[in-house]
Each structure stands twice: as structure tokens, then as C-alpha cells.
């Protein structure tokens, strides 16, 4: 128990003194997971929008597939991407294995189903006559997409949070495709693995605290925006 308190104290000291390695890793985490989430939004929101609005025979099937993608363990996604990017794999020639780019790809694959599903749900939850209204008022395709997104913005916010939260906290895929290289592909989660295995508990706790703080900040933003709505 005293070990835990020592660890906490040391962790806070590392954070307060601006420990370079800690902040480098934290910054890298934001870069990788932030980029992956942004890409996931870029691809996932339009797809989720289509899935939420259009009606076509295969729609239910696709929705089920996407939802399954959400439930897939991230480490499985990591394994698949590793097999694809490793030198003996089909994309080995691109030399992407053990790079930040590979981690972004893996996290993108993990986050996108979440974004699609959340977006589709939030579009479906809109008043059913709203798209008709916009069409009748003369809004073009892009305008309609913008207005509906604005109406569904809480749902889209939830999509961002879900996507980011999932990838910033996952370790299996990041470890497999990133290789946890110090100074290059080491992020908060994989650093915790390393520090734990080296029994450097204080550092591990420090990384854990920063990770928790990141997750909390995300949720806090969403909650504030949510509560601010006079709807």
C-alpha cells in the first residue's frame, strides 16, 4: 500500500516537473490517437450518415457488420494490420511496420466502426420529417448534410469521444504494429506496459494518471456541451 502512495507521489512529481520523456510520450499519444480519430471522423461520418438516412436492401446487414466491428477486440485489429504490414505480408514493401503511421492505421480501423455506428444512430434519431423539410425548403445535398450534422451534433460529439476514447486507451494493437520503440512509437499505454515490466512503478503510475486525465478531459468536454444545451 505504501508502495502505491510512493508511486503516486513520485508520479505527481514527474508530472509537475515537466519530465521530458513523459510529456514527449503524452504528446505522441495525442498525435497518433488524434490523427486516427480525425481520419475516422472524416470517413465514418459520411458513411454513418448514409447508413442512417438511406434505405436500401442491404442496409440492415451492413449495420450489423459495422456493429460487429465495434465489438471486435482492438488487439485482433492490431494482429490483422500487423500481418498486412509486416515485411513478409502483402504491404511489407511500404515499410510501414513499427511506425507511427502503422499505429494510426490500426487505430483508424478500430475507431471507424464506432464513429459510423454512433453517427448512424444519431441521424436516425432525428425527427423523421426533417430531411423532407430541408429538401422542400430547397437545401442542396451538402447543405442538408451540414444542417443535419448540426442538428445531430451531440451524437457526432459522442462519436468523436467514443472513437478517441477507444483508441487512446488501447494497448494491444498499438504494441503489435508500433513496436513500442522508445522515442518513436511509444505511447502512454505501451509505455505503461514497459514500465510495469521493468517494475518502474512510479513512471507507470504517472503515465496512467496522464492517460486518465486525458480520458477525463474528453468526457468533461462532452458533458459540458451536453449540459449547456437549452434544447
Amino acid at each position: 500500500m505504501s508502495e502505491l502512495w510512493d508511486g503516486l507521489r513520485e508520479a505527481l512529481r514527474l508530472i509537475a516537473t515537466g519530465d521530458r520523456e513523459l510529456f514527449a510520450i503524452a504528446g505522441r499519444t495525442l498525435l497518433v490517437s488524434g490523427t486516427a480519430t480525425a481520419l475516422a471522423m472524416f470517413v465514418g461520418v459520411p458513411l454513418g450518415y448514409l447508413l442512417g438516412r438511406a434505405r436500401f436492401p442491404a442496409r440492415t446487414l451492413i449495420l450489423a457488420t459495422v456493429s460487429t466491428g465495434m465489438g471486435m477486440p482492438p488487439v485482433v485489429a492490431g494482429l490483422v494490420i500487423w500481418l498486412l504490414l509486416v515485411r513478409s505480408g502483402p504491404f511489407g514493401g511500404l515499410e510501414l511496420i513499427y511506425t507511427k503511421q502503422a499505429m494510426i492505421i490500426a487505430q483508424f480501423v478500430i475507431a471507424t466502426p464506432l464513429v459510423i455506428a454512433f453517427t448512424a444512430a444519431s441521424i436516425q434519431a432525428l425527427p423523421p420529417r426533417l430531411p423532407d423539410l430541408l429538401r422542400v425548403l430547397g437545401a442542396g445535398r451538402l447543405r442538408t448534410l451540414w444542417l443535419l450534422s448540426r442538428e445531430a451534433h451531440l451524437g457526432l460529439l459522442a462519436a468523436v469521444m467514443a472513437g478517441f476514447g477507444a483508441v487512446v486507451s488501447e494497448v494491444g494493437a498499438s504494441l503489435a504494429v508500433g513496436g513500442n520503440l522508445a522515442g518513436d512509437t511509444r505511447v502512454l499505454t505501451t509505455a505503461i506496459v514497459t514500465e510495469t515490466s521493468r517494475a518502474d512503478t512510479e513512471r507507470a503510475i504517472a503515465y496512467g494518471l496522464v492517460l486518465l486525465a486525458m480520458a477525463f478531459a474528453i468526457v468533461a468536454v462532452l458533458t459540458v456541451v451536453q449540459q449547456r444545451q437549452p434544447r
Binding site: 486516427a36 481520419l39 472524416f42 470517413v43 509486416v86 515485411r87 513478409s88 504491404f91 511489407g92 514493401g93 511500404l94 515499410e95 510501414l96 511496420i97 513499427y98 511506425t99 503511421q101 502503422a102 494510426i104 492505421i105 483508424f108 480501423v109 513496436g179 513500442n180 520503440l181 522508445a182 518513436d184 510495469t196 515490466s197 521493468r198 517494475a199 512503478t201
Partner: protein, 277 residues
């Protein structure tokens, strides 16, 4: 997926040219225990600065490292499982093998030594004592340490499956942690133990037996068997490890800290052109 890959490739898949001129990137597969000792953190930057090569050090179990080599997913290997290595050398996947250094394994256990391993006559007797009266934690991850542990049980005539063993499936540091928490015995390389000695309650109970010697070799993955292997960079790295200057660094690594070196340089003792130690 295509969008992400396009962005990734556009951002550059990572080759660098430095002042050394050779440049390029290579993947070095090594064991977690080697990596955890911190030796590569000291040696790799020197190599990178001199040659401009970027070395990606991937630490996995020995078995996994050897498989990476045989699949062509790594360029160079630094491993310590001579029997297993010999197979891959024989099948032609690993070439240009050089003996780099040695250290030894030690049996560690709780300070009060409930099984009486430290007073046993020899290593097999100690193992028998542990099997009878103690708990044992194993790496269980197909690593060099794990293979050594299984070999030791075998040569002591003890069926390892019959022993009360827990397998962590993880690296040496994590395994030592578990053993520490469980008041159990485990086999560890001395380097990792020394590095973690301060945070563990475990002590050395058996050491020095010839069977406990741990031999490290470095290899280049055969460019003939696998297209895409960075044989130039890998060869340069293996050569670097055997250089006198590097060997001296290995011999001094953390010697002050622990009162004795973690590794014994061995490249000048025997040259090995591809066979085992």
C-alpha cells in the same frame, strides 16, 4: 483503410540518411531480457550516429524473434538460445552469426528460502527441492530463458509438467514481479535480476553452475532467403557489436552500479561463422 494508408505513405515510411552515409532503416529483433537490461539503449544510439541507420528494436521472446527472422520480418537478431538458433542456421535463414557476449542465469527465490534450494548440493538437487517444497514461476513464453528452464528440469530428471509452476507468458521483469509477489522461485538472467534487485525481495539461491551459462549470438537474416532484408545495415550492426570498442562498452555496462558487469564480452574469444556457441 485506403485513406489512412495513403496519408501514412505520404508522410513517409521512414528511411533516414545520416552523416554516416549508410543510412536506411533496419529491424533488430531481440529478447525482452536483453532489451530490459538497457544495453541496447546505450549501444544502438552510437551505431545510429555513426552509420545514419535507424534501428528499430523489437523486443519479443526468443522463439518469436527467431520466427521473425525465419519469416523475413526482421533484419538482424540478437538472441540467446543456441540449440534453437542452430536449426535456423542449418536451414539457411540466419547467416553471419557471431558470438557477442555471455552472462549467466541464476535461480532466485524468497529470502527465507522455504525449499532450501540454497543449501542443496548442486543445481539438480536444488531444482528437486523446489519441485518438492516450493512454488515456481516460469516465463512460459518460448523465450531463451524459458527454453533454458525447461532444459534444466529435463537434465535434473524432473517432469516440468508435474511441478507446481505458474506460467506468466511475459517478459523477465514481469515474471520476476510475479515471483516476488508469490514468494516463489524463478529462473532469471542475472542482468535483469540485478537491474531490478532494489525493488524485489528475491535473492539469488543458486548460481555459477555451468549449465546456467547464457550465450548471446547476433545474426543477419539471410537476404537470399528473404527479399527485402536490409543486409547491409544488419551486417554493419553485427560487425559493430563485435568491434573491440563496443565489446569494451559491453564489458563495462552498468558495472559501477552493480559492482560487477552484467555481460561478459565474448566476441574475441571464439569466432563463430554460423554454428552454435
Amino acid at each position: 483503410m485506403a485513406v489512412a494508408v495513403a496519408v501514412a505513405v505520404a508522410c513517409g515510411g521512414g528511411a533516414g540518411t545520416g552523416e554516416g552515409g549508410l543510412g536506411g532503416t533496419m529491424i533488430l529483433a531481440t529478447t525482452t531480457s536483453t532489451y530490459d537490461s538497457g544495453l541496447l539503449d546505450e549501444l544502438v544510439p552510437i551505431f545510429e550516429a555513426e552509420t545514419g541507420v535507424t534501428v528499430k528494436v523489437i523486443a519479443v521472446g526468443t522463439g518469436a524473434a527467431l520466427r521473425m527472422g525465419s519469416d523475413g520480418n526482421a533484419d538482424a537478431l540478437l538472441v540467446h538460445a543456441p540449440e534453437a538458433e542452430a536449426e535456423f542456421v542449418a536451414s539457411g535463414h540466419l547467416v553471419s552469426g557471431r558470438l557477442i557476449m555471455t552472462n549467466d542465469f541464476v535461480l532466485v527465490g524468497p529470502a527465507d528460502d522455504p525449499a532450501g534450494a540454497s543449501i542443496a548440493a548442486d543445481l539438480p538437487a536444488a531444482l528437486a527441492a523446489i519441485a518438492a517444497r516450493g512454488r515456481f514461476v516460469s516465463r512460459g513464453d518460448d523465450s531463451g530463458t524459458h527454453k533454458k528452464e525447461l532444459a534444466l528440469w529435463a537434465s535434473a530428471g524432473i517432469d516440468s509438467a508435474a511441478v507446481a509452476r505458474e506460467e506468466t507468458g511475459q517478459g523477465m521483469g514481469a515474471t520476476l514481479n510475479v515471483a516476488d509477489q508469490r514468494n516463489a522461485y524463478t529462473l532469471t538472467d542475472r542482468a535483469t535480476y540485478l537491474a531490478l534487485r532494489d525493488v524485489l525481495d528475491l535473492v539469488v539461491v543458486v548460481e555459477g553452475d555451468a549449465a546456467l551459462l547464457n550465450v548471446y549470438h547476433a545474426y543477419v537474416v539471410s537476404p537470399e532467403r528473404h527479399r527485402g532484408v536490409k543486409s547491409a545495415q544488419a551486417g554493419a550492426f553485427v560487425a559493430f557489436l563485435t568491434e573491440a570498442r563496443t565489446q569494451a562498452l559491453i564489458g563495462q555496462f552498468r558495472a559501477e552500479e552493480f559492482g560487477r558487469p552484467l555481460f561478459t564480452p565474448a566476441a574475441t574469444k571464439m569466432t563463430s561463422s554460423g554454428g552454435g556457441g
